[in-house]
């Protein structure tokens, strides 16, 4: 009986290819769109997460001023000294590396190309703290720092804008009033919610101080970058740093901090919750398209109810039992839904693979959404293929035959 129903169902599908095609199409579009959307969304989330982790998750940044907002102005607040950085590094055991940073915005010129760049003067340990890797050439060393050598490393954005296709390594660029040799090109980090990280020029702190802007006071460090030992409680670390800095800056107990400590873990958490929101949004969109796909399938199925009700009447009249007719319809619906579902999965795979490269996000196959989309569409397809048949098969054959 099952084999019989299967034979009849296949014959019935081959006889109504247009209807079969439209049914398959409903499932197909539904499955393909959901999988594509969720997979690409997942890829984008992953990309954001990778960029966050490239920031360094145990990185703290000490800045003058009380923090963000209207009270956070750093105007008139003393900057730090190189000694602050040294003392913090010596006194706090959970600091793995610490680098004083002085930044300045200066014009840079190479041949006919000029642009304003942010110049960072710091110590070699800065590269390690910020997880920079070198793409070409080399980092500057402690020797360069001691001698105040006229060297710098540049980020990829600077290379593109100043050098175009030329090899930057060994070339000299004019920064402010000095000529500085490029000794290294940094590996690309990309955008990370904080602007273009690759738009940077990094040189020894002593070079920046002596050759480019001159030393105006010992309080010329406008940022201290700190990386904590892995597994450090960052709240305790912040408290330690705060205590030492308050002392060094002679703050009385009734005075507010005139510096702030920025923990990248906080950004990571903020961005993390943003991507989580994005994922939830995608899930909602996927849910809606699942629903729309389902309604599409339902429509096709319901459109053919009249014709199919008559067909059921004919089959019942010539001696088919209700269960035989239902089995036939069930087999038809399952077959069509599965064909549509599998075709949808294949198309989605191709789309995701291609689009992931176009929009530059990683492509990772999401088994879960493939299963969910397939099962849901198949259930909708089977339900709306089967339910009208069930209603019709319950009728007296003569009522089914007369169905208008």
């Amino acid at each position: 009986m099952i084999w019989n129903a299967f034979a009849i169902a296949i014959r019935e599908i081959s006889r109504n290819l247009t209807r079969a095609f439209l049914t398959v199409l409903g499932v197909f579009i539904g499955v393909a769109s959901i999988i594509t959307m969720v997979t690409l969304g997942g890829g984008a989330t992953l990309a954001v997460k990778e960029q966050i982790s490239s920031l360094g998750s145990n990185l703290l940044t000490l800045r003058p001023g009380a923090g963000f907002g209207s009270r956070g102005s750093s105007a008139g607040v003393p900057h730090f000294t190189e000694m602050d950085s040294v003392i913090l590094g010596e006194q706090i055991a959970s600091i793995a590396a610490i680098a004083p940073v002085r930044t300045a915005s200066l014009s840079t010129i190479y041949l006919n190309n000029a642009r304003a760049s942010t110049i960072t003067g710091t110590t070699p340990v800065y590269f390690q703290i910020n997880k920079w890797t070198i793409a070409e050439g080399r980092f500057f060393t402690d020797a360069d720092l001691r001698s105040g050598g006229a060297v710098c490393v540049i980020g990829n954005t600077v290379r593109v804008e100043l050098f175009g296709t030329d090899n930057p390594i060994g070339a000299s660029i004019r920064i402010g009033r000095a000529s500085i040799e490029v000794i290294g090109l940094l590996a690309t980090k990309g955008q990370a919610g904080m602007g273009d990280q690759d738009d940077t020029i990094i040189m020894p702190l002593s070079t920046l101080q002596r050759r480019l802007i001159g030393r105006t006071s010992s309080n010329d460090i406008n940022q201290i970058s700190i990386s904590a030992v892995e597994g450090t409680d960052s709240i305790a670390l912040i408290a330690e740093i705060t205590q030492i800095m308050r002392q060094r800056r002679n703050l009385q107990s009734n005075q507010d901090n005139n510096f702030n400590i920025f923990d990248t873990r906080q950004i990571a958490e903020t961005l993390g919750s943003t991507t989580q929101l994005m994922t939830m949004l995608l899930a909602a969109v996927a849910g809606v398209s699942l629903l729309v796909g389902g309604i599409g399938i339902m429509n096709i199925m319901l459109v053919s109810v009249t014709e199919r009700t008559r067909e059921i009447g004919i089959r019942l009249a010539i001696g088919a039992t209700a269960s035989e007719v239902l089995l036939q319809f069930l087999v038809e619906a399952v077959t069509l839904s599965c064909i549509g579902g599998i075709a949808g999965i294949i198309l989605a795979f191709g789309l995701c693979y291609g689009l992931a490269q176009v929009i530059k996000v990683p492509f990772n196959f999401n088994t879960q959404i493939n299963v969910v989309a397939f099962v849901f569409s198949a259930i909708v397809g089977v339900m709306f293929g089967y339910m009208p048949a069930r209603r019709a098969a319950k009728l007296n054959p003569i009522d089914a035959l007369r169905h208008e």
């Binding site: 009849i8 109504n16 008559r310 067909e311 004919i314 019942l316 010539i318 001696g319 088919a320 054959p397």
Partner: protein
Amino acid sequence: MNQPPLIELRGLTKTYGVGDAMFQALKGIDLTIHRGEFVAIMGPSGSGKSTLMNLLGCLDTPTTGSYRYEGIEVETLNSNQRSLLRRYALGFVFQGFNLLPRTSALENVELPLLYRGMARKERQEKATAALNSVGLPNKLNNTPGELSGGQQQRVAIARAIVTEPSTLFADEPTGNLDSVTTQDVVEILTRLNVDRGITILLVTHEEDVAACARRTIVIKDGLVASDTQRS
């Protein structure tokens, strides 16, 4: 040997609708039909003749009364058992042909055999033979859309007789046909009755179609008005 009659009706009624909209189509029919009879059921529109036919063919269920087919109490059967009765004993020809669309004549005729679980080869042989017997040996692969009304009705007759039923129900089989094809259909039905001994119940409102039957039952207002036998 006292064989029960083929069809035996006692006080059969059929009511449609409820309350004010209630309409009694059959008001108590008593009728006995024996094997091998050719019966024409006549009557004006709305007299209940088609309703009677559907009840006899187990396509519909009576409101009250008793219906025995070969001694079987039909009203005690469930819908599954009624399906099996139709499958093994009854054949139908409808005014509107009721063939499956986009399906070849051969496959339409094969369909009842498919539900009997017959093998493909035997099915095709029997279906071809049935189509030959109604004079359509060259139309096996044509779909209903490619056939004339008369040809479609002959396919429907082939589908009804391919299972060799003991009774053939024909509900206004010539209602949609012209006079020439009407004559063809009437001849085929007569031959089935005479040559194969199939009991035929024919609903019609055309006198000349009814003339081929040996017994004519006239239904009026849900009751048997007359029952005449011709020698």
